[in-house]
């Protein structure tokens, strides 16, 4: 190690926390039904905590079947009474308003997102919130242009969409669901995830400010039972779900005897493939971004790293060096790379997989960074010498845990990468363009990133092959999920 590097190692970042004062939060949140905040019929509220401190932030209403029924009926009323009759360009104007209002309150949303979910403020500020605003902006423009998206067909809305979103990108997933549904003329009932309900309710307040007709968007919260009531409700014409493959299958089964339409965005176990001719330093950044972005709570996370054997040692050495500089800690600190694990139960799941990896005989590396005394934390973790049969290679962990497998030939890596029931995404690192296009052809996955990873854009469709679900969100293709002919 050079003298300069030694010096750098001893250099510490001063805390640079984002002030919580930018976020106004209520002690209690009610359901958003028919344009109003209403008390839950259930009378029940559940606590949402900050996973970095384990402190209670707010109490949130738990919707039972009667509440779901109210929300569904409000959505139906708004659909038949107002929204389906409105001129498409005027629908679009409401969505433009929502986009602008999110932009105006972007920092506040970022702070709440990081407090409620544990993700670093740098990510909520630079990724989640701007992408959510941009998504509304993009689909706003589609509202009066559907004839061009579906030439020679008359696109009609489906009706009422029941939408269930996960806890890893709460506001962004709400935007992915609500924006295209509304643009195509549907009304929605959206359920936020149990551990991260707050930004959805902030969005509800903002939707009120936008003057959106009552009942066009209804936002409720609760756990699995609430979601089941939505899926099984007769007024639901469409189910849009993002979450685990297991739950996705339950939903698909539940609606099998109906004509309800569905799109499912489920789990993943993406292969991130590094060839010997890749720009190694850039690839190492891509590996880190691929698996440690959002604490690895990403369905498209590059959780299986395939390294060509000739560069395996150098890639792993550089990766460990890079991992050592990752800062784990306060999500509201602008220097933080890896925030808090979303919940205690998710932390237990991840820790369980780490034990399984060790038991199965893979070599583990973890950085020795300091962890805060309270809250849920997991050090960035690497398993080398993993094999295809290991559970940490087969199953989705949804945490900052990377499994490394080496390969010798291109055929071998294609076969190994595709040897999974999932097919959401893949990454390819090589300086050779012709190899990239060969690989993108061969990967059985909905998104392939070449010499980059975890890139998202409202214009770019996202979604899986195989058991990673079906349907696309984003872009022109994302409209198909919310129209019929």
């Amino acid at each position: 190690m050079s003298k300069k590097e030694t010096k750098l190692q001893g250099w510490n970042y001063s805390p640079a926390p984002e002030s919580k004062s930018g976020a106004s939060l209520k002690k209690q949140y009610d359901l958003f039904i028919g344009g109003k905040m209403v008390k839950p019929t259930s009378g029940k509220y559940f606590k949402t905590i900050n996973p970095a401190t384990e402190e209670v932030i707010s109490e949130v209403a738990e919707a039972n079947a009667a509440d779901v029924d109210k929300a569904m009926k409000a959505a139906r009323k708004a659909y038949t009474g107002v929204w389906s009759k409105m001129k498409a360009s005027e629908r679009g104007k409401y969505l433009f308003r929502i986009a602008r209002l999110i932009q105006e309150r972007a920092r506040e949303f970022a702070i709440v997102e990081s407090m409620d979910g544990g993700k670093p403020i740098r990510e909520s500020r630079d990724v989640d919130v701007p992408l959510a605003a941009n998504h509304f902006f993009y689909y706003a423009g589609w509202a009066d242009k559907l004839d061009y998206a579906f030439p020679n067909r008359q696109a009609q809305p489906l009706g009422v969409a029941a939408q269930i979103i996960p806890w890893n990108f709460p506001l962004l997933m709400a935007a992915w669901k609500i924006a295209p549904a509304l643009a195509c003329g549907n009304t929605v009932v959206l359920k936020s995830a149990e551990t991260t309900p707050l930004t959805a309710y902030k969005l509800a307040e903002l939707i009120q400010d936008a003057g959106l007709p009552e009942g066009v968007v209804n936002i409720i919260s609760g756990a699995g039972a609430t979601g089941a009531a939505m899926v099984n409700h007769p007024e639901a014409d469409k189910i849009a779900f993002t979450g685990s493959t297991d739950v996705g299958k339950i939903i698909q089964k539940a609606i099998a005897a109906t004509h309800k339409k569905a799109t499912l965005e489920l789990g993943g176990k993406a292969a991130n493939i590094i060839f010997e001719d890749a720009p190694i330093d850039q690839a190492v950044e891509g590996i880190v971004n691929g698996i440690y972005f959002n604490q690895g709570h990403v369905c498209c996370a590059g959780s299986r790293l395939f390294v060509e054997e000739s560069v395996k040692d150098v890639v792993i050495a550089k990766l460990k060096h890079r991992m050592a500089s990752l800062i784990v800690g306060d999500p509201l600190d602008k220097n933080t790379d890896i925030g808090a694990i979303n919940s205690r139960s998710q932390l237990q799941t991840i820790e369980n997989y780490i034990r399984i990896g060790l038991d199965e005989g893979a070599d583990m590396f973890q950085t020795d960074c300091k962890l805060p005394s309270k809250g849920f934390w997991c050090r960035p973790t690497l398993f080398t010498d993993a094999s295809q049969s290991h559970r940490i290679v087969q199953e989705e962990i949804f945490g900052p845990v990377l499994a490394v497998i080496s390969f010798r030939t291109i055929d071998e890596v294609i076969a190994k990468a595709n040897n999974t029931p999932y097919g959401l995404s893949a990454g390819v690192w090589t300086d050779k363009g012709s190899k990239i296009f060969n690989l993108t052809t061969k990967m059985r996955a909905g998104v392939v990133w070449a010499n980059t990873y975890n890139k998202f854009d409202p214009v770019s469709p996202f979604g899986g092959y195989k058991e990673s679900g079906f349907g696309r969100e984003g872009g022109l293709h994302g409209l198909s999920a919310y129209v019929q002919f």
Partner: protein, 290 residues
């Protein structure tokens, strides 16, 4: 005593600045009773040249902006128009419209800008293709803006016609030099002020006032202009435009104005098509498998 009204000096718009014509000339714009409304800049050939060079300078930056960013800027124009409805309506009225018709003209113009704002990051998805060539190549075609476009807007409407003539071109990443319709300079100048306040980079839109008779052949013959958008029914004028455009094979985009016409093909008309070939490596027998 009655307050003395402050009269506005109507100027042209080149490269994000508001100069007077370099020629120092003017033409009087009068109302129906013959009363002077304003002295309008009577632009010269040299003003056209200055405007084209400003548009050329702005082209690279504007065309390379992210489509989403262009979309936001166009939306911002609509926001500024909405907040200056009163000004636009007044200028429409002073251009000869009744108050009621003027108000509808302004609403339609704002909605048209929003319509194209929505297209900025979408027309490429409609007009691009991946071409399944028989050899192992990844082959795709995308629209790209033509460059600097001169615009002769329709004489049928003071505001909606003006907006409909220029917005599709800039939505597609082109920069424009517009000659305001001789009898409708007021709304054009109001739009230059709105555009200037809407995060549109200087030089993307340049607006001149003057006479078509004097300037149209310069706008059609200028060697650093890639295309000309021409509205109108004057066949002799169109023939002249086509003839002098030949020298650099300038694209002539001719339309008859229809107030309700809005579609992405107006954007496509201002685009070239670029096709890229890239090899796909074929190694070994490996199939995609399951």
């Amino acid at each position: 005593m009655e307050r003395i009204e402050v009269l506005k000096t109507y100027k042209i718009y080149i490269g994000g600045k508001f100069p007077r014509t370099e020629s120092g000339r003017y033409y009087p714009l009068q109302d129906k009773s013959g009363k002077l409304i304003a002295n309008i800049c009577l632009c010269s050939r040299k003003d056209v040249r200055d405007a084209v060079s400003a548009a050329r300078k702005a082209f690279e930056g504007w065309s390379e902006r992210a489509a989403f960013n262009r979309s936001q800027i166009l939306y911002r124009i609509a926001e500024m128009m909405e907040s200056r409805k009163a000004l636009l309506t007044e200028e429409c009225v002073r251009s000869g419209m009744t108050a009621k018709v003027a108000q509808q003209e302004v609403f339609n113009a704002i909605d048209r800008v929003i319509y194209y704002a929505g297209w900025a990051d979408k027309y490429m998805q409609i007009f691009s293709s991946v071409n399944p060539v028989s050899s192992p190549h990844f082959n795709f075609s995308v629209p790209e803006p033509m460059g600097v476009i001169t615009v002769i807007p329709p004489s049928d409407s003071p505001l909606l016609g003006f907006v409909s003539a220029i917005i599709p071109a800039i939505t597609g990443g082109n920069t424009v030099v517009v000659l305001a319709e001789e009898k409708y300079p007021l709304t054009a100048v109001a739009m230059s002020e709105i555009i200037n306040d809407s995060d549109v980079p200087g030089g993307v839109v340049n607006i001149l006032t003057g006479t078509k008779k004097e300037l149209i052949s310069h706008m059609a013959s200028h060697m650093d202009v890639n295309a000309i958008i021409h509205f109108g029914k004057d066949e002799a004028e169109l023939a002249k435009v086509k003839e002098v455009s030949v020298q650099n094979l300038k694209r002539v985009l001719h339309y008859e104005y229809k107030a309700e016409a809005e579609n992405p093909y107006f954007i496509q008309d201002t685009q070239e098509v670029k096709t890229t070939w890239h090899p796909i490596e074929v190694i070994g027998p490996s199939g995609s498998g399951y």
